[in-house]
């Protein structure tokens, strides 16, 4: 039985364990129908031209883990941003771990999707926001919607700001030969609210893991959201990350994506601007080796006048890795005075590495400033020579230049400890010890 059929038939079993009378269940039923109709995307579809899911579909994934493992904090401490105090929402094999987590209801709600879906006090919010901005016809998103049950639920009321950043961590322990995880997050920032989120998916074994994650983010007027995605998973872990962001006037939402690991990573990042004077920023650093594959798909839909969007993606590709970037900017007719910038710079450091990039502008308004730039090149030989004449070994010299290359993106990380952590990840990835942090 192929994976699609298995998923569709599992839906019946899934229904036994959830409240089928909840209004959200209609959304789920609708979603599974769409997935059944569309199936997994294939390379004939323009959006999946460079990324094949064929090998993933051959794996016999467990959809519901039979049992869950407990983890000791000391074993997984290094995956947390332990240098600072944070709220933590931790899942082990898709199941919430209250032992490792630190949630709150003190003024703000930082808790679980399962609670939000079942408790009557959240019903009003769920009715308004759940599946509101997520795509209703993209097949993998609807697959997630159909099985949506658990994930992070964050609600920041008007004029509030949580005391510390929020970490969302997903661990896979490998107690199943192959595991499919489908977390579903809902993040709402009301007027003038501000928050910072760090998200990470981590597999702890070499067993196959596929995560198909959907995150919906709503930023009301003047809200500020910083979202950091750290993707440094082991080589048998694949991630399909779908993020949908709806912004109101004067809000600022920044998403940073750091992709250093995993087998196959696909980031679908979608911004919808539903107000004026909005700032949408997305930045990313991708450093790949081996046979890794990362595919960044961004969409910014400018629907209202006077908004801005900024995109800056840097990629360094080694060994047999493959990078894909597809950035789409749509400017509607009424979205006059839009400023949309997009930049994608890439360095290839191996003959077997591949980069496919496709910046895309679709513009229907005349009074706009839109530009995109894309470069593919290699390290400057003269700069390399200069560093080497100053006694810096070749490998370190190359690493220095790559740091400099990625620095634009790193500089805008607003949590210093996270920035240091990412610097270390980059140093690890490049196999160097620089002895200082940039």
């Amino acid at each position: 039985m192929d994976l699609k059929d298995k998923l569709v038939s599992s839906f019946l079993a899934f229904e036994n364990n959830i409240d089928v009378d909840h209004p959200v269940h209609d959304i789920r039923s609708e979603a599974i129908k769409n997935f059944e109709l569309k199936g997994f995307p294939n390379r004939k579809e323009e959006a999946w031209k460079y990324t094949s899911l064929n090998s993933i579909q051959k794996v016999d994934f467990s959809i519901f883990p039979k049992e869950t493992n407990a983890l000791e904090y000391k074993d997984v401490k290094r995956y947390f941003l332990h240098e600072i105090d944070t709220y933590k929402i931790v899942f082990i094999d898709g199941v919430y771990s209250s032992f490792l987590s630190e949630t709150t209801h003190d003024g703000v709600d930082i808790c679980l999707m399962s609670a939000a879906l079942s408790k009557p006090m959240y019903k009003q919010i769920i009715d308004v926001y759940f599946n509101e901005v997520a795509s209703k016809d993209e097949s993998l998103t609807t697959l997630n919607t159909a099985f949506s049950k658990e994930g992070a639920y964050i609600y920041i009321p008007k004029n509030k700001m949580p005391k510390k950043p929020i970490e969302i961590l997903h661990f896979a322990t490998g107690n199943e030969a192959a595991l499919l995880l489908q977390p579903r997050n809902l993040i709402i920032a009301e007027e003038n609210a501000e928050l910072q989120i760090i998200e990470r998916h981590q597999s702890l074994t070499s067993n196959e893991v596929l995560t198909n994650c959907v995150t919906e983010i709503f930023a009301a007027k003047n809200a500020i959201i910083d979202y950091y995605k750290v993707q440094n998973d082991v080589k048998n872990a694949s991630l399909i990350d779908n993020t949908y962001i709806s912004q109101k006037s004067n809000s600022v939402v920044k998403v940073h994506t750091f992709s250093f690991g995993g087998k196959l990573t696909r980031n679908n990042l979608n911004y919808y601007q539903n107000g004026e004077y909005i700032d949408s920023t997305m930045k990313g650093v991708t450093i790949l080796g081996e046979k890794q594959h990362v595919d960044h798909h961004t969409l910014v839909h400018h629907r209202q006048p006077n908004c801005e969007s900024h995109q800056d993606y840097k990629g360094i590709y080694g060994e047999k890795s493959m990078g894909v970037f597809n950035g789409k900017i749509i400017v509607d007719k009424i979205a006059q005075k839009t400023n949309a910038f997009q930049q994608n710079n890439n360095i290839l450091i191996s003959d077997k590495a591949t980069i496919n990039t496709k910046p895309q502008l679709e513009i229907f308004a005349d009074d706009v400033k839109c530009s995109h730039g894309c470069t593919i090149g290699q390290l400057d030989e003269e700069a390399m020579f200069y560093l080497q004449t100053r006694g810096i070994p070749k490998k370190e010299a190359a690493a220095l230049l790559m740091y400099a290359f990625a620095n634009n993106v790193l500089a805008s990380v607003r949590i210093p400890e996270l920035k240091m952590r990412i610097n270390r990840l980059i140093a690890n990835k490049l196999g160097v010890q620089l002895g200082f942090d940039l």
Partner: protein, 481 residues
């Protein structure tokens, strides 16, 4: 005969499209529809050798299995391929040696178009191979060219007289099954131009062909093959105008360029097919496959000015097969009213040290949609490949759209690729500056648009550059609110 009011009215009605008139020449037209018999009949009519007939049939059989491409960013009513007549030739067709023998009515047509086959052109050094509804009726300067060993004739003549050359090269760059329209063209192409420049010869004049669609309901299927042998150089010009017709006319041409070692081909196009009227009614569908192959140290340069056609679907491409070869693409695409253009290029880097440059300027006005779609592909063996792409779009008015779809695929670490694109409108301050100096807004826009397109206009041969500038102005007339 006195000039009546009726005539004046008529003239004003048709004035919108200056070249919109219909020449009444008896044509020898095939019944509508397409099947194997028609393909065989076309081949027979043109007295083609047997290999050509079977080549056409092979293409036709492939075409039957193919579907029209739908990926392009254009919307149109698909042509009914069975409702088109696939062959039409001006009737009285002896081979002319001098202009006096040519049908005077035809000459008159050319005069209206501003093509003079007489002294003027001769002095300008332009040899003209005129294609009027598919069949080449007049070729000048043939003798001068013949002295140099240059073959410049209609493709049907080439098939008969230079069979070996054609057989060797036809379909090598654009195979019969390449795409839907290329397959259709391969099956039914009626005529076109053939050009062969021998080793080491520098073609002394600009070669040019004028295309016209004349007979109502006739598709025009041009086939052009240009071969530049080792170390040779040729500059080829192509320009077109078409009479205004209400029903959409289909144009599916194929152009193949082959530049052998150290050769250089410069191919310039000014395309001004009937774009449809202000309501988007009528207009030509232009589905063209153009591709060039560069061997070692060869260079192919495409320059195009696209102002006409209701639908443009056109991607002049370069396959940079040989080491050190160079591909260039300079394009201006102007769309107004309801025109739609999806155009761009493909640069396929296969050889070492290959270079390509893409400069594309899109100008959209009225309710038109203008897309740039390009591919830069660097294969794993293409060491030190270099590409620079720039696509700029200019939007005039708030009902039009500008789109860019650049694909970049790189498999070699030594590649250096730069791509940049911008979209903007004409600055109010720029217009103000011009107004201040006594230049009225309409003129100011033309000035700014010309400046915007300068990089591409500069690449055109002299005579064309002047014509192209005028075309830009005419195409954008009335687009300023």
């Amino acid at each position: 005969m006195a000039y009546t009011e009726e005539e004046l009215k008529k003239e004003l009605e048709t004035k919108e499209y200056e070249y919109g008139f219909y020449t009444d020449i008896e044509s020898d037209t095939f019944p509508k529809g397409l099947n194997e018999d028609i393909v065989i009949a076309i081949s027979k009519k043109k007295e083609e050798p047997e290999w050509m007939t079977s080549w056409r049939l092979e293409a036709f059989r492939a075409w039957k299995e193919m579907k029209e491409p739908e990926w392009a960013n254009i919307n149109y009513k698909k042509p009914d391929f069975q409702n088109i007549s696939y062959y039409s030739a001006p009737n009285k067709k002896p081979k002319y040696e001098s202009l006096d023998e040519v049908d005077p009515e035809l000459l008159d047509t050319f005069k209206k178009l501003g093509i003079s086959l007489d002294e003027q052109k001769k002095l300008a050094g332009v040899a003209v191979d005129i294609v009027m509804d598919s069949v080449s009726v007049a070729t000048t300067f043939k003798k001068t060219l013949a002295e140099k060993g240059i073959i410049f004739c209609s493709i049907s003549e080439a098939i008969k007289e230079h069979s070996e050359l054609v057989k060797k090269h036809l379909g090598t760059v654009v195979p019969q099954k390449d795409n839907f329209y290329a397959a259709l063209n391969s099956a039914v192409f009626s005529d076109g131009s053939f050009c062969y420049i021998p080793k080491g010869v520098r073609c002394p004049m600009e070669l040019s062909t004028y295309f016209r669609i004349n007979q109502a309901g006739t598709g025009q299927f041009e086939r052009t093959l240009v071969i530049a042998d080792e170390g040779s150089y040729v500059s080829y010009l192509e320009g077109c105008t078409a009479p205004s017709r209400d029903e959409n006319q289909l144009h599916a041409a194929v152009v193949e360029l082959i530049a052998l070692d150290n050769a250089e081909i410069k191919y310039s196009t000014v395309q001004n097919w009937f774009p449809g009227d202000k309501e988007g009614k009528g207009g030509v569908y232009n589905f063209v496959t153009k591709r060039g192959l560069c061997e070692k140290n060869a260079k192919i340069s495409w320059t195009q000015v696209e102002t006409g056609s209701a639908i443009t679907w056109k991607y002049p491409s370069c396959i940079l097969k040989g080491d050190n070869s160079i591909g260039e693409f300079y394009s201006i695409a102007v769309t107004n009213n309801y025109q739609q253009a999806d155009t761009g290029t493909k640069m396929i880097h296969l050889g070492k040290n290959t270079k390509s440059t893409i400069i594309s300027k899109g100008i959209s006005a009225g309710k038109s949609q203008n897309s740039y779609r390009g591919l830069v592909q660097v294969n794993s063996r293409a060491k030190n490949a270099r590409n620079f792409s720039q696509c700029d779009s200019l939007l005039m008015g708030n009902d039009c759209g500008a789109h860019t779809f650049p694909y970049i695929e790189v498999k070699n670490k030594t590649a250096q690729i730069e791509h940049e694109a911008t979209t903007s409108k004409i600055g109010e301050d720029q217009i103000f500056y011009c107004n201040q100096r006594g230049i009225e807004t309409e003129k100011a826009i033309a000035l700014i648009v010309n400046g915007f397109s300068k990089e591409v206009l500069n690449k055109l041969p002299m005579e064309f550059a002047v014509e192209a500038q005028k075309l830009l102005e005419i195409s954008l007339e009335g687009s300023v609110g």
